[in-house]
């Protein structure tokens, strides 16, 4: 079988230039809809990501993949600065590779092996 042709990423993501993991408290609480319920989000782990360019605008949102966990609740702080909220902190494993991707479309396993950032639980 012939090798498939190469394709540039259709929606190219910028490179991650910085990343901060923190435990945050929100006053007033953030408001999230989760499975049809409005939730007051008062505290939790968030990961702030800086990039070397803007993230393309499309229907899918950017997501942060921490090992098997997908953080798809995202808030844009600036064109190149986004924070991702972990709604289920227990899914975040210490040492797990962190990669930026698209919601519902995790990067391949090889990419995780080369990941520059790893998850360390915040204090």
């Amino acid at each position: 079988m012939a090798k498939p042709p190469k394709i540039d990423a259709m929606w190219p993501l910028p490179n991650v230039t910085g990343l901060v993991i923190r435990r945050a408290t929100y006053k007033p609480p953030l408001k999230f809809m989760i499975r049809g319920k409005l939730v007051d989000w008062r505290k939790g782990v968030e990961i702030q990501v800086e990039t070397d360019g803007p993230i393309p605008v499309r229907a899918l949102t950017p997501a942060l993949f921490v090992g098997d966990a997908e953080l798809d609740r995202v808030q844009a702080l600036a064109e190149t600065s986004h924070r991702f909220f972990a709604l289920d902190e227990s899914a975040l494993k210490a040492g797990a590779p962190i990669l930026l991707g698209w919601s519902g479309d995790p990067p391949p396993p090889e990419a995780f092996e080369k990941a520059k950032y790893r998850y360390q639980p915040p204090v």
């Binding site: 498939p4 394709i7 259709m10 999230f32 809809m33 409005l38 899918l60 391949p108 090889e110």
Partner: protein, 863 residues
């Protein structure tokens, strides 16, 4: 004459001619319209059993013939028509009972429109459409009558004298009984500096009608034959033929020029040479379905004659686009369609198989055009949303107006005689452009023309993701828009009283595209506004970000999924369909060769994964299926047939549209959801393979344990049959059931498998087994068939991952029980006593076919 294979001799019995079609007739009408007649045939009209009009000669230039009547029609009169050609006399047509327009159109006659447009200075002819046959039609310019037809058809063409001038206000009027309705106003434009050159469609020897393009509406056309000019004639424009007194001959040279104003000169001449008989193509026809009494053509020569043969015997002789037959066609029969122009007969005579299911075409549900369009845009400034962010509350409103334009009064008779109009809310997705909400005005205007108020909500600021939950923002902007509509309805918005007391919020429908497609589901689940009930939701190419329950219920639901979507590449709306509860129905349209963006007029980028249909085709599909949905849910119109596959909308690339549909309260034989194994169906009855090991039951979800392969993007479980040997699967019904009048529906798909070569279509057979053990089979090919998986390219991405988004997407196939047999026959299979349903797959290449949702359906509704 014989067919292309020379196997069947076709006997042109001159004594056989088709019945004609008789179009709806109206009280006070002074004419009726006939279709499907042989050019130059003579027409008889019968009224209440007595021949009323006889021997009226038809012309060759149009598909419809308008027959003048001696007096005006009365409601309840029973009309029939027939044609005479040579010595042959057709059977009478199906009867038309004369209707009272006040019953069909309680809010007034449909609004006429001048078409084709535009209206040009010096224009000497205009076409008018959207009028009831037999109405009087008048065109006025600044209040003076410039064109008149005492009885008109739709479309109709009328001479304009004196010709149009700049600065005039041109209006078309239709009058029937004591009702009169006017078009919008048209303002003549200057003609182009250089008039375009006319182009001819192929002309074959013997033709008495010539078709041309590039004719400007109202232009005077001069046709020359072999250099001899014929008298100049005004022409209504594209779509109309040009009749000739004498047939053209082989090799003859035709040329045509057009002009508008006398001093402005004519166009360069367009030229053609008359083609010989031998090049006359065959007529193209859609396969008919069992029991049809007509054949619809998709390609034919205007002004030509078309004959239909079955087993060499002529059963139809008329003209396109719909040829009536002398009898109903039978399942399994093969027809042959012959095209004639003058004495020429097409050399191609293609076989046409009669199918069990080949849905007839009907006018697109988007074509209903009753009212002018009122416009009312709004901008209420910012409001504070729950997420703590401010957002502008703005949108565009379209509604049925008394006339076209901004803040036009609500249509007076609609309000007075029909009552309040339902509301539709449009919500765009994330595109990052401030005009996204303007992109659905074409559907909003269609809805206004049929009596629905709509608002399209500006959600642009939510696109920037600043709030942390743009989906919550979008849902609140939907509520803000509805609150604004409530305020308009209460008359609380100063200066905008047109909608005061005019909106019915108990039939509200929501339409969302992309992220808007999930937002409307969230809004439907969380709405809490006085008087507001969500009756239906449409999600076009939605995302699924887990904001909703994921299981739409409590309202009718439809999702449209573009197969070449380059943004929501996983077609996430399929999961919503799978999990939706039919309340009272759910519908899915999977659209081949469609991208994500072309449904919104402001989203210019083609992000499709492959070459896709043009934007106009995207819009035609969305308009047809959405209007079918809105009309069924909000107006109670009988348009569900377009969603469940009983009808196909004209003017839409339906071969690209693959439907799934479920109604509430049907007998589910097997949906594979119970988890108690492949050997027990949903009725609790045994199911097993009769000729080997059982096939598997699998997850059809991405990433789930027990999935068949990675090509499924559903949220359901089903059965996959894959075997190089024949597989016969039997699922029992528990007790013998009468399937008289019922249909068997099953969702099925040709499974995409990366390494399998595929050329031919996958197929299976569905069987019914009666109490005596008799079995009858019908092939999937006979009910529309299974398409190949829509082909997407497989790429290697920059990150090293294979980008393979080819999908296995289920569609619903309908097997009418009548295709299997009859009730209580003297011997053989008995439809009144069916005890099992069988599936037979015989794919020597081992190709896999997926199945789900096997149901017994009562097409008329709940059992």
């Amino acid at each position: 004459m014989s067919d292309t294979r020379g196997k069947t001799e076709l006997v042109d019995d001159p004594g056989v001619v088709s019945p004609v079609g008789l179009e709806p007739a109206w009280r006070c009408g002074k004419a009726v319209a006939i279709t499907g007649h042989i050019p130059f045939a003579r027409i008889d009209i019968e009224r209440d059993g007595v021949v009323w009009v006889s021997n009226v000669r038809t012309e060759p230039s149009g598909a419809r013939a308008l027959i003048e009547l001696p007096e005006r029609l009365g409601a309840g009169q029973r009309l029939r028509a027939r044609q005479r050609f040579g010595d042959a006399v057709s059977a009478w047509s199906a009867a038309q009972v004369v209707r009272d327009s006040r019953e069909d159109y309680p809010a007034g006659l449909p609004q006429p429109r001048i078409s084709p447009g535009p209206v040009y200075r010096c224009g000497a002819m205009s076409g008018v459409e959207n009028i009831l046959t037999g109405s009087e039609m008048v065109i006025s310019a600044n209040g003076n009558v410039v064109g008149r037809q005492p009885y008109a058809d739709s479309p109709t063409a009328t001479r304009i004298s004196p010709q149009y001038e700049i600065g005039q206000e041109v209006i078309a009027w239709a009058t029937l009984c004591d009702e009169q309705v006017m078009s919008r106003d048209y303002f003549p434009e200057p003609p182009p500096a250089t008039l375009p050159q006319i182009e001819f469609y192929p002309v074959h020897e013997g033709a008495r009608t010539v078709s041309m393009r590039n004719i400007l509406p109202g232009a005077r056309v001069r046709l020359s034959r072999n250099g001899v000019a014929l008298p100049e004639r005004p022409h209504p424009g594209p779509g109309w033929g040009f009749g000739l007194a004498e047939p053209v001959t082989r090799g003859e040279t035709l040329s045509a020029t057009q002009r508008l104003c006398a001093g402005d000169g004519s166009s360069e001449p367009g030229l053609t040479t008359v083609l010989p008989c031998s090049t006359l193509p065959g007529a193209g026809a859609w396969p008919p379905q069992r029991g049809d009494t007509s054949v619809r053509l998709h390609t034919f020569v205007p002004g030509g004659r078309v004959q239909v043969y079955a087993d060499g015997v002529k059963i139809g002789d008329g003209s396109g686009p719909v040829v009536q037959l002398t009898r109903a066609v039978r399942g399994g029969e093969t027809l042959r369609v012959v095209q004639k122009v003058g004495d020429c007969t097409s050399s191609q005579i293609l076989p046409l198989d009669v199918h069990c299911v080949s849905p007839p075409f009907a006018e697109s549900p988007a074509a209903l055009d009753l009212f002018p369009v009122g416009e009312m845009d709004y901008d209420n400034g910012d409001i504070l949303l729950t997420t703590g962010f401010n957002h502008r509350v703005a949108g565009v409103i379209r509604y049925p107006g008394q006339w076209d334009g901004v803040d036009a009064p609500f249509h007076e008779r609609l309000g007075a005689l029909v009552g309040r109009a339902p509301l539709a809310v449009f919500v765009h997705g994330r595109w990052g452009h401030p005009e996204s909400y303007l992109g659905y005005r074409y559907i909003q205007e269609q809805l206004a023309r049929m009596g629905i108020v709509s608002v399209s909500v500006d959600c642009n600021a939510a696109d920037n993701l600043r709030s942390g939950d743009d989906m919550l923002d979008r849902s609140e902007l939907i509520f803000a828009a509805i609150r604004h509509m409530l305020a308009l309805d209460r008359g609380e918005v100063a200066g905008h009283e047109a909608l005061k007391g005019k909106i019915d919020f108990s039939r509200t429908c929501l339409f969302g595209h992309s992220r808007g497609g999930e937002a409307v589901l969230l809004a439907a689940e969380t709405v809490n506004l006085p008087r507001v009930k969500i009756a239906g939701v449409i999600s076009l190419a939605p995302v699924d970000t887990s904001r909703t329950s994921g299981s739409p219920r409590g309202f009718a639901f439809m999702t449209l999924l573009p197969a070449a979507d380059g943004d929501v590449v996983n077609n996430e709306g399929a999961k919503f369909y799978d999990r939706a509860e039919p309340s009272p129905f759910k519908s899915q349209v999977y659209i081949h060769s469609a991208n994500h963006n072309f449904f919104n007029r402001t989203w210019w980028r083609d992000e499709g994964l492959v070459s896709v249909m043009d934007r106009e085709s995207h819009e035609a599909i969305l308009s047809a299926y959405c209007c079918a949905f809105f009309r069924a849910v909000q107006l109670g119109h009988d348009t569900l047939g377009f969603l469940d596959g009983r009808l196909r909308p004209l003017g839409v690339q339906t071969t690209n549209c693959h439907l799934s549909f479920r109604m509430a309260r049907q007998v589910v034989v097997d949906d594979h959801e119970a988890g108690d194994g492949i050997e027990v169906n949903t009725l609790g009855q045994p199911a097993r393979r009769l000729d080997g090991d059982n096939p598997g039951e699998y997850s059809f979800m991405q990433g789930f344990e027990g999935r068949y392969n990675d090509s499924f993007y559903h949220f359901t479980r089903g059965m996959v049959i894959s075997d190089k040997k024949k597989v016969t699967w039997r699922t029992a019904l528990g007790r013998a059931r009468s399937l008289d009048g019922k249909e068997i529906w099953i969702r099925a798909a040709d499974v995409y498998e990366k390494r399998k070569r595929r050329g031919s279509l996958a197929r299976f057979e569905l069987g019914l087994e009666d109490s005596a053990g008799n079995v009858r089979w019908v092939s999937s090919d006979g009910v529309g068939g299974l398409p190949l998986p829509f082909p997407l390219p497989v790429y290697l991405r920059a990150d090293g991952r294979l980008f393979d988004k080819n999908k296995t997407m289920l569609k619903t196939l309908r097997f009418p029980a009548a295709c299997f047999g009859t009730v209580r026959p003297r011997r053989g299979f008995d439809l009144a006593s069916v005890r099992a349903i069988l599936i037979r797959v015989d794919q020597p290449d081992g190709r896999a076919i997926a199945f789900d949702d096997l149901e017994i359906v009562s097409p008329r509704g709940a059992q």
